[in-house]
Symmetry: C2
Subunit: 534 residues, 2 copies
């Protein structure tokens, strides 16, 4: 294949690119030899330091921040209740404020509940006993996984009883041949991948928070993550679920079968319903093989039409090996350069695409990627590009994309919007936002998962400004609704987005959701105040 001279083809020879030793999210790639002769498996390890729970000194109580919220008609936890809890989960009833503090505040430090008791069940039977009792007493509860959500969905709003799934972290079974893993809901994704790796398997989803997020929470929020372009969403990959209903009944749909069409697929109800219809206690997940080779290309484009042409070419020419198409605009690239002193190996372009392939044969994948690069360069679709196959180089390219969020924080205050829009409108939201907020802000950046049409719109300024906030909300959500986008690409509605449920759903749809909630949790004890506007 003839390659344009314009492309700086890096592969192993590419050495000029450095990543400063920054104190932020880091990625580490390493190659591990195994006794399996088929493939060399590589594992991507995110250092979850950036997701460690750094709390602001004192987060305002949600009940104060949202004064329009009224506490529901629930009982308050009494001494008698505590005695019962102690009997149900001996020595795993926490009431000391210091022990509970971290479970009352969400990861982003935006929401703070006033929960007085934290329960740590180890078994499904214990969860069942807790819910049966709470339902009988009309005590509200909030199920909590790794508490890494960004919409305040996993912490109390008032004094809900917190049910932490963290001690339910057992891997129940793994079928190496079918690739089906069965585990308790509290298993941290990193731990699961650690157990899968010796068998050449990995979870079908991976997230920045994988060092602390739990599979039950992932399922309850239908987390997509970085592998979704390749492996699809959890509605397709979760084969079975066990959930405890509000009344304590255990719903055992823990099938490990890829095909099962016997009656309604009840497990789907719990995927993405944010713990409001039941508490997920175990799951059966279809796990793919770890790819033998991962290659990354960073490409620069000078029009959004070229971005879409590149994406289309990548989908067609890389097909089965394409595993990510990530997008950054120039402002995103500038912020990692200015605030974190990262170096971009390409010249200045309006847009950048990070294209990743994952396959079983490195030579084949390189050849396919070379064909793509030749095509986009020769046709003037891409102005500049670089490719990395060696793990540290791959990591260096990913670091540019993954550190945008960290870099933005250094601007001061960040207004963040994670939404999906039709691909043809993907970047229009950023353009229109810039026009709306004018020069009052430090910057407006757009980056995200192009493959899923998931744009992260971020607006920064030195400190919070009511004027800027009011210019952004609900304008951004209105904009998204007008083009039939989704106001929540990830994380669900929680407390922070509940007022915008109708922006992405029709009236009859919300009505049916409410009917389902009423049917399955008639007393409304499961994660109240979330999802639905008053």
């Amino acid at each position: 294949m003839r390659r344009s001279n314009a492309i700086r083809y890096a592969l192993e020879q590419y050495t000029s690119y450095r990543v400063p030793n920054i104190q932020c999210a880091q990625s580490l790639w390493y190659t591990q030899s195994t006794n399996n002769s088929f493939a060399v498996w590589r594992r991507r390890v995110h250092n979850s330091a950036a997701l460690a729970q750094k709390r602001p000194e004192r987060v305002q109580l949600s009940s104060e921040r949202f004064p329009q919220l009224k506490r529901g008609d629930f009982a308050r936890v009494s001494d008698r209740d505590l005695q019962v809890f102690e009997r149900l989960v001996p020595s795993r009833v926490l009431t000391e404020p210091d022990d509970i503090e971290g479970h009352n505040v969400d990861w982003s430090g935006t929401c703070r509940g006033d929960g007085q008791v934290l329960l740590r069940p180890k078994t499904t039977e214990e969860v069942s006993a807790i819910l049966r009792y709470c339902n009988g007493r009309r005590l509200a509860v909030v199920p909590q996984g790794g508490n890494t959500g960004l919409v305040g969905g996993s912490v109390p709003v008032f004094d809900e009883v917190i049910i932490s799934l963290s001690l339910m972290d057992k891997i129940i079974s793994l079928d190496e041949i079918s690739g089906v893993l069965v585990c308790q809901a509290g298993c941290v994704v990193d731990k699961i991948n650690g157990a899968l790796e010796p068998h050449g398997l990995m979870t079908p989803h991976i997230l920045g928070s994988k060092g602390s997020c739990q599979i039950g929470g992932n399922i309850s929020t239908n987390a997509g993550g970085l592998r979704m372009l390749r492996y699809g969403n959890l509605h397709g990959n979760v084969l079975g679920l066990e959930a405890v209903l509000a009344n304590g009944d255990v719903l055992d749909c823990l099938s490990s079968l890829r095909k099962d069409n016997t009656g309604y697929d009840l497990k789907q109800l719990f995927i993405g319903s944010e713990g409001s219809l039941g508490v997920v206690t175990a799951a059966s997940v279809l796990c793919p093989r770890i790819p033998g080779a991962v290659i990354v290309a960073l490409l620069g484009c000078d029009s959004f039409a070229q971005v879409l042409q590149t994406y289309d070419a990548a989908k067609t020419m890389l097909q089965e090996i394409l595993s990510a198409v990530e997008f950054m605009d120039r402002a995103s690239m500038e912020v990692v350069q200015e605030n974190l002193q990262l170096t971009c190996p390409l010249g200045a372009h309006r847009y950048y695409l990070l294209v990743e392939t994952s396959g079983s044969n490195a030579a084949h994948d390189e050849e396919k990627l070379n064909s793509l690069l030749g095509y986009v360069m020769e046709n003037g679709i891409v102005g500049d590009g670089t490719v990395a196959t060696e793990p540290s180089k791959v990591q260096a390219l990913w670091a540019l994309r993954e550190n945008v969020a960290v870099a933005l924080r250094r601007d001061g205050c960040v207004y963040k919007y994670d939404v999906t829009v039709p691909m043809s409108r993907f970047y229009d939201l950023v353009v229109d936002t810039r026009e709306r907020v004018g020069t009052d802000v430090t910057r407006v950046v757009g980056y995200g998962h192009l493959g899923e049409s998931d744009i992260h719109l971020n607006v920064t300024c030195p400190q919070h400004s009511d004027q800027i906030f009011d210019a952004l909300e609900p304008w951004v959500y209105d904009w998204v609704a007008k083009c039939k986008g989704s106001v929540s690409a990830e994380h669900g509605m929680g407390i922070l987005k509940r007022d915008y449920l109708y922006h992405s759903n029709t009236g009859p749809a919300v009505l049916l959701m409410k009917q389902l909630k009423k049917l399955m949790d008639p007393k409304g004890i499961l994660n109240p105040y979330k999802i639905f506007p008053d």
Copy 2:
């Protein structure tokens, strides 16, 4: 790569294999050049002759066959109702018995309803008006797509009003870049693929009945089909749905977004619920690119352990290009040889595997497949094998697998069971069935989709025998239930399997299903008598 001499490597040179011109399901592969320089697209065309609706002379009425069934407390269609229907869907109200006959009898000729009226709406609004009226009048209805199901789910049991979706066959939109197709529910899968092909796209699922089955019916039964190993199920690939509820309300969840986590994912309720919760009227489907190359290998193994080793090796070494792993036992191969005079290019083996790859680069895929073949041959896992890349040869190998069902019919009477079991027990069902029925039958064969652990157990004899039937049912379903399998891998429960719903579901799960049914269809007018045992 060193290749064992034992393998007869066919590729284009393989010429000794002939397929007789049999009057049965045929496949035709052809290569089509396009003006897209990225890939050569190939399309697989199934001749649906085998699925043409050949009815027995007179199928017994289901109400007579199942005398324990009692007609529900529904109104009967009156002249006044017919006048209203005529107003709602002018000139599309059929009442002549000859016009309705084909819609009263299911494809397999097993079930026969006594529907007196067939309605043919063209729009969602018409479906809405029909259901609103029927719900008000308490008239039972059965939604009907291509009527290709095998459990009697798409035909009336008594005199339900038949709502045929066949005229709702419009393709609404196609986004070439994202690959998202939006269409009405009555679109036949073949028609959809015809529209997708010029854009280099195809449906994520494909079925033997694709010449007549409709996307709405596929969704309502969560059809898996031949591409499921590669592209996953419809729960993952359907991005949005429009459905009309029992009361006529239109539920518009017709999102085209890959990520949307705003409230409960209501569309999942309609996937696989057999039209009992609402009538699917339109869908948004994520469509993959047509692969540039398809290669097939037929391999012979002499123990089931070797079958599993081969499957494991294929999953590991072919990873991203693996698109099918189909299984046949020796009896399956014998029946296509004896009854259809097909020729198997391999010698006699206890088991056969058909391994298909679909990728974007033929040379790469051949190399990967060669590596696999080298590994399994050199390690004595596979005794014999042949590979085909040329379309007619690929088709010839597939013909062996696809004609098993047709060949079995020539034995006379066939008892068919399509179930999923854990992969480790995949073939045990066949072994145990042989032991149970002894020598009273012509043959017991096992074939199916190994990749999804979906085994087709078939028992043949010259004519129906109560003794054999009683030996098989409910014994087969009990066997499946004991090993936590699914009594319905495909097609759902319909009327034929409803008595076995508890075999694959717990009591609390069935209770919740019934509650959902009651909530969404309080008068029970939607496809009554199906799914749930009395």
